[in-house]
Subunit: 323 residues, 2 copies
């Protein structure tokens, strides 16, 4: 089942169920005006949503206007982003010239969740000098998870899977990281691809709490990377359990994988510019690629083996803020 959120003037938008080809949709309405509301009573909502999905499969529904699509969750109460790909961690250590992080637990920070940009929104930044970078990721949206839930139990709380661009300002990141407090200025709002999907809809590509799909990234219409999500060092269920160790997780909590990265980056490329720069440092002693400029475009979409794009595409342009 695919879900999306259509702009309707309300802060949380309007929940719609989307056909499996991403072309048609029906509005949900009733008790489930928004996805956040549906997540608050998922077992009841899911019955209604799957009924609508069945009607869509039978040919009902209206064509989708892509321009009306927002992030599936335009805001939520909690966004916890992991860094579960070891290759990303290793390369960022080179990029940031920092010591290796020693931890037997997943790496995770809490980021801003009051706004997720829609898939086609222009994304405003104050300055190119901050080092504007994309980070292609997968994420899960969970139901309410009680404190102390273990990893095996956590799997059953994963309701939806999403695709995220975790925008990052690299030239602000190292100084914040060195305080130990995590990132505030280096992590502006993220963007989300239009469709949130249930785990079953990914078939075999959802395996051991990992999204085993290539995440295809184009920067200014040029292929930049197509790393696969299967190399997560911790599965999403382990990230959920880590997050829930000392807190209840509120329904609608979004948990990110961190930048998708593969050991064979020479072949598949990268999901963020900072990694490519680190690879250049390793090869040439210095980075050769700059960060994004105003007007630059990035396109991110995961691909099924048959070419289908379950989350749709993020396709955005970087622009200066206007005050």
């Amino acid at each position: 089942m695919r879900l999306a959120t259509r702009a309707n003037g309300a802060p949380d938008g309007e929940l719609i169920v989307v056909s499996e080809d991403g072309a048609r949709a029906v509005a949900v309405g009733g008790r489930w005006l928004s996805l956040l509301q549906a997540l608050g009573d998922w077992s009841a909502a899911e019955v209604d949503l799957r009924n609508l999905a069945t009607r869509l499969a039978a040919g009902q529904g209206e064509p989708i206007d892509p321009g009306s699509l927002r992030a599936p969750l335009p805001r939520s109460w909690q966004w916890l982003d992991g860094s579960a790909f070891q290759t990303h961690a290793d390369l960022m250590q080179v990029a940031f010239q920092t010591d290796s992080i020693r931890s037997d637990k997943p790496l995770m920070y809490q980021g801003l969740s009051d706004r997720f940009y829609g898939p086609f929104d222009p994304v405003p930044f104050r300055s190119e000098a901050d080092g504007i970078d994309f980070e292609g990721e997968f994420g899960v949206i969970v139901d309410a998870v009680p404190m102390g839930t273990n990893a095996a139990e956590a799997m059953s709380y994963i309701r939806l899977i999403v695709q995220i661009n975790d925008w990052s300002l690299r030239n602000l990141a190292v100084a914040e990281m060195k305080t130990g407090f995590g990132w505030i200025q280096a992590k502006p709002p993220c963007s989300m691809a239009p469709f949130a999907v249930t785990p079953d809809s990914l078939g075999a590509a959802w395996h051991d709490g990992r999204v085993c799909l290539d995440l295809v990234i184009d920067w200014n219409e040029k292929r930049f990377g197509s790393a696969n999500g299967r190399e997560m060092g911790f599965g999403f269920h382990e990230l959920v359990a880590h997050a829930a160790a000392t807190r209840d997780l509120v329904a609608g909590t979004i948990i990110g994988s961190g930048t998708v990265a593969n050991a064979d980056y020479a072949k598949v490329g990268s999901s963020c510019i900072a990694e490519r720069r680190a690879i250049e440092v390793i090869a040439d002693g210095r980075p050769g690629t700059g960060f994004m400029a105003f007007g630059d475009r990035v396109r991110i979409q995961a691909q099924m083996p048959n070419g289908e794009q379950p989350f749709g595409a993020i396709a955005q342009k970087v622009v200066p803020i206007s005050r």
Copy 2:
């Protein structure tokens, strides 16, 4: 003006305006069912709320049932906690045996905001072995703040002032801090004192973006500290500007001062146990005070020079989680 939130079964509770002596209240209702709603359109809401405050001052209203009071914001979209007291930073460096943090910017992390415990709620933890500690703080609640707002401008976006207990699990904190990602497991939900007050209601005690009041803390009915808020190295307006450098702040964002601490801690004591332990390390080479045990109680209230308590008191007991 004092505001509070009464339990009514809804997630955000019911907004009430409270008399200056904290004894009586009127429900607001209408467009401003909750404080979060009022903050979303503050210029309109404030007129209505001040009218009710005038009627309270004239003797209207009903007695408050303290047991019905929740946190003024039982949840919000964003909680950013600073660490603005240099004495706290210096002592935590001793407590955590970490290097001095070099930063010319305020220290700040993003914590969970989907739940703030009410002032009298028992607070559940999984284990005493995690090192349960209180942290007495002040905080501000801001209106929507545009990205790039400077410190001078930021002052005018501060709508309300609150008093917070930032519960911390010290034995999980150092390992998380060393990752550079900030705290997840070490920072469970905070608690809030019952009353949120407008800056004008503090009179001269609100000065240069600082709450110049003693924060009186009792641990198991024994005086633990009474540090004053005036020694913040950065004022709240500077913390707001720091947070808004690369993001718009959503209305209802709560920004914390970090643990209130004074250079003359020998006289005024501390606002968290970790600091007292650091002071013991400096004096005796090792900490003598343990962290909290299940059943322990903490009471936190700021006091005006005339003895009034503008935020009311946080009075809580630490309990084990029940699953």
